[in-house]
Symmetry: C2
Subunit: 427 residues, 2 copies
Amino acid sequence: MNTIYNPNPNEWGNILKRPTSTFDDVEETVKGIFKEVQQKGDQALFKYTSLFDGVTLESLEVTSEEIEQASNRISDELKQAICLAKNNIEKFHNSQKTSRLEVETTEGVLCWQEKRPIQKVGLYIPGGSAPLFSTVLMLAVPAKIAGCKEIILCTPPDKNGTINPAILFTAQLCGVNKIYKIGGIQAIAAMTLGTQSISKVYKIFGPGNQFVTIAKQYASQLGVAIDMPAGPSELLIYADETAIPSFVASDLLSQAEHGKDSQVILVTTSKKMLLEVEKEVENQLQVLPRKEIATIAIQNSKLLFVETDEEALALINEYGPEHFIICAKNEAYFVNNIENAGSIFIGNYTPESAGDYASGTNHTLPTNGYSKSYSGVNLDSFLKAMTFQKISEKGILNIGNAIEQMAEAEGLQAHKNAVTLRLNQLK
Amino acid sequence: MNTIYNPNPNEWGNILKRPTSTFDDVEETVKGIFKEVQQKGDQALFKYTSLFDGVTLESLEVTSEEIEQASNRISDELKQAICLAKNNIEKFHNSQKTSRLEVETTEGVLCWQEKRPIQKVGLYIPGGSAPLFSTVLMLAVPAKIAGCKEIILCTPPDKNGTINPAILFTAQLCGVNKIYKIGGIQAIAAMTLGTQSISKVYKIFGPGNQFVTIAKQYASQLGVAIDMPAGPSELLIYADETAIPSFVASDLLSQAEHGKDSQVILVTTSKKMLLEVEKEVENQLQVLPRKEIATIAIQNSKLLFVETDEEALALINEYGPEHFIICAKNEAYFVNNIENAGSIFIGNYTPESAGDYASGTNHTLPTNGYSKSYSGVNLDSFLKAMTFQKISEKGILNIGNAIEQMAEAEGLQAHKNAVTLRLNQLK
């Protein structure tokens, strides 16, 4: 771990710098696959699934038999855990419902805002070593609450052409309409363009590797919305002398095991805490199954000592972490003044894994400093706000002249005329 | 105008198709200018302002003297109109404030969501023939209500190096912190990368031509958020026999005068209305100052006759118009069932220009079918939702086992361990 005492604010930018990648060659691959999916539809999907996932499929959609069998293949304990998590996620996202907002801005001028569901959404769940059924919960639960009509899910099959049963069980539990065995760039292309089997959606959600990320970015240029730009996962912990070093170390490691490029930062005003956490990380690291991955992430991690809470806060706001854990007696100061962070975890008994799985908050969060401008996924991610206005004769008499003045000054005579005609009618 | 009776639903896609453009050559220009702004800062801004706007500037920031003079150069009537509009926009966007949402999802597990302002935002206001001070209102008013700390505005200077006084007056009135004389790609590059004079922002808002649009898209790849993808403005009117043909025609024309590529569509269940509107459009068109532009847009416009309200609604939802005017006795049917539209105008006395200027709703709206997945600009566009969780000892005892189960099943042992350590401590 890299320990830095009293970093100079001029150096924060460099110290907190995220790894950047250029993707020019990936972009060409993405465009090529999109083109082929557009031209050949399902046929291209079968081809790339064979190429990248090593399995030749005869159909893409998961059958109801497969879903039923999946349910029998997972333990009752895991089912109960998933249901507990679902329940908490539902409660939290249900609370985000908003009602119609109505204002009479001027007498006779009634304006209102209503949120209506995005009709067709596509959820992408990566395959690979970790079957992320928790991400199914985080995306499908709010989609269902929002009232999205078509919720489809794409996830790559394994070499036997099957999907992890926990993913199928969770998707079914959350009301996903259709599940397809398709991953990578080809899945994003299918949801963007539509094929014989897979109908195109209006918005695509979900994490993925570099290929999926670039594919989503390209999709967004083709008229499909995406949840947010994705990057390697991040955790920043602020701990003072009241934190428990073994807990802090376990949180840093839970982030580090995500990937070699995970970002792990400790900021502290206690030198003793810094040294103890460093030692604890070394100890706990030895027994982890994903030790190899975590070790590399930890090597790139930072332990930063600063003198004051104020300095710590400024540094954290400059970074804008995806996950931010606060273990400090002065926690209210950080809670009240944090400007840029995705999700905030407060106190010694609030590990990041709680938010990853079961507290109820969403774990799809802005990385790479995007917390400065993006929200994490929430109920509104599946809705769009529409505005309405209804103006009475009285209303247009009240604001008509202002509109005429402004349209005239902007040189838009037809805009003015649309009002003048109506005012003349009322004379 | 192109009149189509009873279009076959299979043909809707083609009939409602928007013009698409490919921008490969513009992209190279954009990347080149961004690179130069990154390397040379202000010097590059001066160079391109000289090249594109035909004026050699000595400084970019508008001075307080210039702002003061501007205020003296616009009429009291226009000032009053702007203030009336501002007042309505403030009322409507103030109503969109949300308070902290707090839920105890399980005993001891407290989760909440709070929205906090995006600290630094940049507003882009195009120059050209129409000085869009109304867009200043639409962006700066909600930015101020949201509590954004730095609100900067970029707009291109004219050949004398000055900015339209109505833009300066409105920006000052709405609390914009700094105004810069810079437009086009170079303005977006400056707000994305920062220069000696202009500090970089976290999110860029505002309309623009094709160059600005591509520049914003590129900015979004470099880590800056943007309000939404932009395209030519659109209006769809549904009118039955109760509509007033001259009003309908005036609304179609107010859209058509925006640009040659404006999209104008009338859907009706009344053949009589269709013919009358067509005649009215011809008449009103003759006297418009922007007749040349409007004529071209009107040539590409569509008059669609369908038999039933149900068919009309389905077609409109398929299109997803930016602006949607409803003039029909059955208006509630359309209001209740419209799924995809940016802003909706109801009744004979609610012209689109009301929403463009003064009703209180925002006129920065999703075009090009993006109403299927995007909201128009609203208060939330200037905020991001952050989530918080605080778990007590009781709380982690309640959900800890579920987290362990799920982390184990996802193969993330360090995630599990962060909980196990805490549960052991409580044994």
